[in-house]
């Protein structure tokens, strides 16, 4: 048994008690699972015909198309949001009042408004002015989703980066200025690279959120994975019933696999960053805060980061 803050290594009595609790708890968990399985079985969701649908080429193709579309939206939105994030973070730290205010206003507005509403509004706008913008067919959904994800996640990434830039030891920029670098040079060659390095795990955790949020395309009927799944389940009828459960289990597994792969990348980078002797303190990948979609959080790390040990750099 692992040692914990909350309990000692158990003695003989406690071990017996824990074993009893384990059995009871295990039975309770098992009971829940059995209840679900029995109910699903009663409704015929485990009938072989229900699962046979995945043998059809059409079903597989539409799931594959869904995955490809989701990844495409994610890739474009991830790149654009990172670019926007750097611009906004730099803008927020600018010496010019107008630039600073614009960046702050932009970040606050788009962080406060639900992403779904941003996407929906963009979609309606694009549909309304479709001919003026030269968009056609599927493109309205694609761009509404991509731009919505970009402005929201760009705002969040900007706050992450700002926290990172603030956590770079002051000596770094002082030294850079002493070498005669200009403000832009200091920012782009000294501060931003260190901030990115320190915040990489958080940035990637936010990318996981971006990946999950591509599923909002479902609401604006864009053909990403979730929409495809819903269409599949809604259109196929097996034994007078829609195969919602098999489709959702398969689709959910795909989403979870994609997100876990990205999270694993974040953890790996965090561990690598800890090992490297750059003196840059790498943020925590497992931070629940970073993964939550709001990220007011980052403000706290901005506050707390400077007191944290920063190593030998300064």
């Amino acid at each position: 048994m692992s040692s914990s803050v909350l309990y000692d290594a158990p003695g003989p009595k406690a071990r017996i008690r824990n074993r009893i609790y384990s059995v009871v708890g295990g039975l309770a968990v098992l009971g829940l699972i059995v209840f679900a399985v029995v109910r699903l079985n009663d409704k015929g969701q485990f009938a072989p015909e229900m699962w046979d649908i995945f043998n059809y080429a059409g079903v597989r193709t539409s799931i594959r198309d869904g995955v490809v579309t989701t990844l495409k939206v994610f890739a474009v939105a991830a790149v654009l949001s990172l670019v926007l994030g750097v611009l906004l973070a730099v803008g927020r730290l600018s010496d010019h009042k107008a630039v600073r205010w614009f960046a702050t206003g932009f970040i606050e507005l788009f962080r406060a408004v639900p992403l779904l509403i941003t996407i929906y509004v963009l979609w309606v706008l694009f549909l309304t002015y479709r001919s003026d913008l030269g968009l056609s067919g599927d493109n309205t959904g694609f761009w509404a989703l991509v731009i919505g994800l970009t402005v929201y996640n760009g705002s969040v990434q900007a706050e992450v980066l700002r926290a990172g830039i603030n956590s770079v030891p002051r000596g770094q920029s002082e030294a850079a200025y002493a070498l005669g670098m200009r403000k832009t040079q200091v920012m782009m060659t000294v501060l931003v690279p260190q901030a990115v390095r320190a915040m990489l795990p958080t940035i990637i955790s936010q990318l996981v959120v971006t990946l999950k949020d591509t599923s909002l395309g479902y609401v604006i009927t864009y053909q990403e994975l979730l929409f495809q799944l819903q269409q599949l389940a809604g259109n196929i009828v097996v034994n007078d019933d829609n195969p919602y459960v098999p489709v959702i289990i398969v689709g959910g597994a795909i989403y979870i696999a994609m997100c876990l792969a990205l999270s694993a990348l974040a953890t790996w980078i965090e561990r690598r960053g800890r090992r490297a002797k750059t003196g840059i303190r790498v943020a925590d990948a497992g931070q629940p805060l970073a993964a939550a979609d709001a990220l007011d959080v980052v403000d706290h790390s901005a506050v707390s980061a400077p007191d944290a040990p920063t190593g030998k750099t300064n």
Binding site: V5, G25, A112, V113, V124, L125, T128, S215, G252, D293
Partner: protein, 215 residues
């Protein structure tokens, strides 16, 4: 401007809808999250495994997929006739509970080891230690992340509007379907959300300063 004045009842309805769905699922998430966090730190392996599975699965699933499950699977297979409000509350609450659980768990980890050791040496049981010593101290460091979790919850509640709940997104959708200028609607809806999220962060800041203790 006219959109707001002409449709004040709808906006009020939507505002209250967002508030109530947020409050209801926040309560559910808080209870579930603390219970699951208790599972995850307990000495009982099956419950620990359950907690880990719960958090891993829910944190990596898109909320929209959970809504699909809530609205297409739950009523047909488990509990027919559940109201959309309860279904949306369930989806939002379960999703958010995984974040609450992780916040509580990392809060528990910030309590110095000596505190729990002292409690144990006084002969306190696991539950006593957790309830009387660790959780009260963990509360303080849990409050800042909790604030952002609840702000996220407020924003996520917009998805409930896409699934036939009356709330702000639903209202904006209705009005834009009627052909009102989307820009103005967006502005007013954004303002409503700003009010709610600022209220939440203000409330939590107040709590934070009230509960602040020197350590």
């Amino acid at each position: 401007m006219n959109v707001l004045l002409d449709h004040l009842p709808q906006f009020r309805e939507g505002f209250l809808g967002t508030l109530s769905i947020t409050a209801a699922s926040a309560a559910l998430a808080l209870v579930l999250g603390i219970v699951i966090a208790g599972f995850r730190v307990s000495p009982i392996p099956p419950l620990r495994a359950f907690g880990t599975a719960w958090v891993t699965l829910l944190r990596n699933t898109p909320l929209t997929l959970l809504f699909l499950i809530a609205f297409f699977v739950i009523p047909q297979i488990f509990f027919p006739g559940t109201s959309p409000f309860v279904l949306a509350m369930g989806a939002l609450g379960c999703y958010t509970s995984s974040f609450v659980c992780e916040a509580v768990r990392s809060g528990i980890n910030t309590v110095p080891l000596g505190q729990a050791e002292a409690a144990r040496s006084l002969g306190m049981t696991f539950f006593q230690t957790l309830r009387l010593i660790v959780l009260p101290q963990a509360t303080r460091s849990v409050i800042p992340p909790m604030s952002s979790i609840f702000i996220a919850l407020t924003k996520n509640s917009a998805i409930a509007g896409a699934f036939s709940n009356t709330e702000l997104f639903n209202v904006s959708k209705l009005l834009s379907d009627k052909g009102f200028a989307i820009g103005w609607i967006f502005l007013w809806i954004a303002l409503c959300y700003l009010v709610i999220t600022f209220a939440i962060s203000g409330l939590f800041r107040l709590l934070e300063s009230r509960l602040e203790v020197a350590r």
